[in-house]
Structure formats: C-alpha cells, structure tokens
C-alpha cells in the first residue's frame, strides 16, 4: 500500500499491473470480460492502492450526477416526514439527495432550479410555495421536475399531491356534524398555496350548510405554534367566540390549545379543535389531536419515484392524488347543548 498524498487514479492502477486503463475500467464495470487471472491481479492492485473511481469524472463522462434535489419551503417536522419518504425512494433507485429549503422565498426557489440547470443534480422534487405559473413562465427550459404536495396548475408537470380543498372541507364538515356553527379557521402562511386551498375547503363546507364565512372568525396564521396561539387569543377576545376551530395545521392547533387553557377554558369541553397533517406530535399531545391525516411520507416517496421514472426516460406526466383520512382523537367534541347562564 503505497502512501502518496494524492489519491490513486485509474492510471496508477493500470501502471501497477502493467495493463491499460481500459482493462482496469472494465474490471470494475464489466468484470466478466476479463481473464480470471488478470481480474484478480487488477483487483489486488485496486485494493493495494486504495483506488476509488472518481465520481466526478464518471459523471462528466456519463453526463449524469446521480444526485437529485429535494426542495421544501422549510425544515420543519412536517417536511421532515416528506423528506424521509423522498430519501427512502432515492436510495432504492440509487440516487443521493441534495436538500434545499426556500423559506418560502421564490428567489431561492429559482436558485435551486438554476442549480439543476447547471447540472448540479439530475432532477428536482419541488414543494413549491408559490404559484407555478411563475415557474412555467420564467423557466426557459426546466429540468426534470416533479411537483409535490400541492399544485396550483393541473397537468403541466408531473405531480404527487393530495386534494387539500376536499380534505379541508371534510375536516370542517366533521365539526359541522358535531353541531358546531360558529367555526373559526386559523389559516396558514400567507405565501403558501396550501393555505389558500385549505381556506377554500373551509369556505365550501360552510356554504354547504348554508353558512358564510364570518370574517371575525378568520385568522391569519403562519403554520407555527406561536401564530396559532396568537390567533386563538384574538378569537377568544371576540364578543361571541367560536365553539370550534379548524386550524390549518397541527402546530397551530396546539398553539390554540395553549391559548385556550391559558384563558382557563378546556379542550374539547369549551372549544373543539381540529388540526391538519397528523404530525407525530398530534398523537402524543394531551389531548391527542383530532386531525386530518396527510400521507406526507408517501407523497415524498412517490414524488421521488416519479422523478426517478422521468430520469429513467419514461415520458410520464402523471398527476397522482393520494387520499387523506380524518383521524378522530380527543380534541373535538359535540357542541355544548346550551351555555350555562
């Protein structure tokens, strides 16, 4: 084992065994083409020199990187789950993943796209926060791309998502079914398409019951515990507070619970709450959250699989819509018969 400062290259191996680089290359990529004896000698030399093929050189030659970007709006537990799915699929298909987050900044989003155009990666799984029309307009030529979790325009790109509108409507309807009529909504981050869609579902469900949205019951949040807490404080300060709240994600629901408790009230006796996403914390919180389960992991997994398919040459332009599921736990209950005087 010769100890030099620079790493051994294929040439070093070739020289060591007195063969050509072509032979050494074949010993790695296509061993059966070699004479058994020479193969052994080559392998010995490789081992001896500690030779490792230079991935960059391979990439240049083969014009691919074996890398994919996975870009999410923020590094939160919610997207962590998504990422786990994507990473799993990436490993299964032989890719490594480069992770990026945009903080919901379209400029940073564009930067990631541009990186892929520079061949930093072979393709990209994108959970975009903004409108995709912008993408479509701006990008002169877009890299292999699959949109995940939520899409605003249909059919233009491969995508894996859920129907946020329908899911939000179902969540709201559940509350309506429990007899609630003054139902508030704590909306998500302003820049997010999910926010719009979940609000839309809320609106739809109400209107099915002949109700319209009371602006006082509509609070802007930001998908954080703190924002949920603050929003709930506003709601509790109302002359006639809601009997139930639909929070656009679990973290805000938890924030709301905290505010409710601080006001000396309890969940679900005084106020019913329904969350969204079914994050891990929803199950372990006290009370366990009734929430709308989004198959986050699966979305990540399928997205990456789609991308791998795309990169594998299949010209698929699928729009996969995965089902959500209401998870009934203990944060929402039937509306109280009457307020005790």
């Amino acid at each position: 084992m010769k100890t030099t400062d620079r790493a051994a290259t294929i040439k070093d191996v070739a020289r060591a065994v007195g063969l050509s680089v072509a032979t050494v290359s074949r010993a790695i990529t296509n061993p059966k083409l070699l004479n058994a004896e020479t193969l052994m000698r080559v392998r010995a030399a490789i081992d001896n020199l500690g030779y490792r093929p230079n991935v960059t050189a391979q990439n240049l030659k083969l014009s691919k990187t074996g890398l994919v970007m996975v870009v999410v709006p923020s590094l939160s537990p919610f997207f962590l789950e998504f990422f786990r799915g994507a990473e799993q699929a990436a490993r299964e298909t032989g890719y490594s993943v480069l992770v990026g987050h945009t903080d919901r900044d379209p400029a940073r989003e564009a930067r990631f796209l541009s990186q892929v155009n520079s061949r930093r990666a072979d393709g990209i799984v994108l959970v975009t926060s903004a409108d995709q029309k912008a993408l479509l307009a701006e990008g002169r030529c877009l890299p292999p791309l699959v949109l995940a979790l939520d899409v605003t325009t249909g059919g233009q790109f491969a995508s894996v998502r859920v129907d946020h509108v329908a899911a939000a409507a179902q969540a709201t309807t559940y509350l309506l079914g429990l007899g609630h009529r003054r139902i508030a909504h704590i909306a998500g981050a302003r820049a997010s398409a999910m926010t719009v869609h979940r609000l839309e579902g809320y609106r739809m469900a109400l209107s099915e019951y002949g109700l319209s949205v009371d602006p006082a019951l509509l609070q802007q949040g930001a998908f954080t515990v703190e924002s949920g807490e603050h929003a709930m404080e506003q709601l509790l300060a109302l002359d006639s507070p809601p009997t139930a709240v639909f929070a656009a994600n679990d973290e805000m629901a938890i924030g709301a619970i905290r505010a409710i408790r601080r006001a000396g009230l309890s969940v679900p006796q005084d106020v019913s709450l329904i969350g969204f996403d079914d994050q891990r914390v929803a199950r372990i919180y006290d009370p366990p959250l009734t929430t709308m389960r989004i198959p986050t992991y699966e979305i990540g997994y399928r997205s990456m699989l789609e991308l791998a398919g795309l990169l594998g040459g299949k010209p698929q332009e699928a729009d996969i819509v995965l089902p959500c599921q209401l998870v009934v736990r203990q944060s929402a209950a039937a509306v109280a018969a009457a307020a005790p005087a």
Copy 2:
C-alpha cells in the same frame, strides 16, 4: 434563442460570438480581463443560448465538488435541528449539503465515508453512533472529517460536541437537589455513545450523593416516545416505584408522562420528570418539560464551519465543547414530604 435538445456548452457560446472558449470562460470567472464591448457580446450570447456552465466539468477541472455530506443516525426532529445549523453554515460558506442517515448501522456509516473517498463530496460532518476507534482502525485514509455531537476518543479528529456526562450529571443532581432519592433512568438507544455517556453522568451524580444505581430503576429505551412509555410502565409496576425519572431524551420523557397519566398519576405531583435535549416539543407540551438544553443547532453550525475551515486548508484539529443549560419548566418538583397512607 436557438432551441436545441442538448444544453449549450461553452463552445456553443464561443462559436456564436466568434471568440475562443477561453474568452468565454474568462467572461464568467474573471470579467474584468475582457474588453467591455466583447464582454457585453459574450454575455448577450450566454443569455441568448441559455448557457449554464456544467458544474460537473468545473468540478473535475478544479478537483472539488462544492458538496459536503452531513450524516446523522436518524431523521428525527432532534437531528433536524442539528441539520438546520449545518445547512445554514454550509450556505454561508458556499457548500451544498448531501444528507445521509445511518439508522445506527455502522455498515451504512462506512458507506458514506467511502462515498466521500470517491469524491462524491469534499468532506463530511459525521454524527457517528458507534465507536470511533473502529473508524480510525478501518479507514485507510479518511476524508476531511469532523465529528459532531458526541465523540468517544479525544483529539484524533476535529470535533464539536457537548459534555454529555457532565450534562447528565447536572440533570440528575437537579433531581437530587429536589429531595428525590429513588431516581430512575430511562436510557437511550443501545448503539449510541450518547446513551453510555448520559448513563455515566447519572451514575456519577448518584454516587456523589452516596447512592448507587438500583438496577431495577435502570430501563433501556430507544429514544422514542413508545420506548419511554414502555419503560415507565415497568417502573410503575415496581414494588417501590421511583419518585423521579431522568429520561435520556425528551421524547422518552413524554412517553413516560403518558404512562404515568394512564396509571392515574400526575406529573410532577406523583412523579417528577426531567428530559434531555430541549426539543421544540418540550416547550409546548403540557406540562412543559424540565430538560437539559443541548445547543443542537449551534453544534451543527459550528461543525460545518470547522469542516469548511478544514477544506479551506487550515490544518485545525480542534475539539470544541459547547455548554449545555438546564431549562427548568414544570415537569419536576420537590419530592412529596411523605406518602399519604
């Protein structure tokens, strides 16, 4: 804007403006060397053709990738925080990060090391779960490497960590200070060095008070809510259960709380609990967890900065130890004066 199927290369640009590739290259890397007028023409052509330098080719030429691996045992909220720090520092220093997780499997750990040796990335920030002696022994030549969060051998590698033993001792001492004497410990995942160190701290603190570890009060966990729950069930089934529990992380502490509640007892009235890490959930849980804060984000951040320094040529071999901090909230209280008969 000529629309071809393959991406434009530097040659295409050169041909388009009737200049040499060298000039085009300079237009990008060192614009001031160019005649102002030619520079404009080159830029126009670049824009027009949508030319983007091929990162792979650049990498090969410059023999670096601009990539770093960040490898953690698992993709959990705890390591997410670590990762955020690392990612932030990576962006500040111009690197992109390739994320890997090992599921505490040494084989997978080795695989990541080997990837870096193949020049998939320039260096690696590693939160190893296993003993580093193995690393040191096996790796013929290790890539630029910094060890994070916990290290078993001192001084061999650059590292950024906390003193888990001291921190665990401090946590246990806090419980002792509250008057508790029957203090249980729910340990972490078996394969983790952190587990050993935190247990050691527990042991040390007890012995300072002239106590020794009661094997019945020592439960094996796995850093998960479920494992904490299960461990606590065992403890509650004891003839004389503990009055306080030191859980090796917050998730297990929460699991323990759940088990305690299910048994009809309450925290901290019947059993005091202290967690470890100060994960986000610790603050929002009910009751808010008393816990030992580990500067996870900072560790990630500093680790990546170390690595960037290493890659920048500075031959530093630092061992940075960051401080922990006890965060007193509401899950631990003074021991009850006497058990009501």
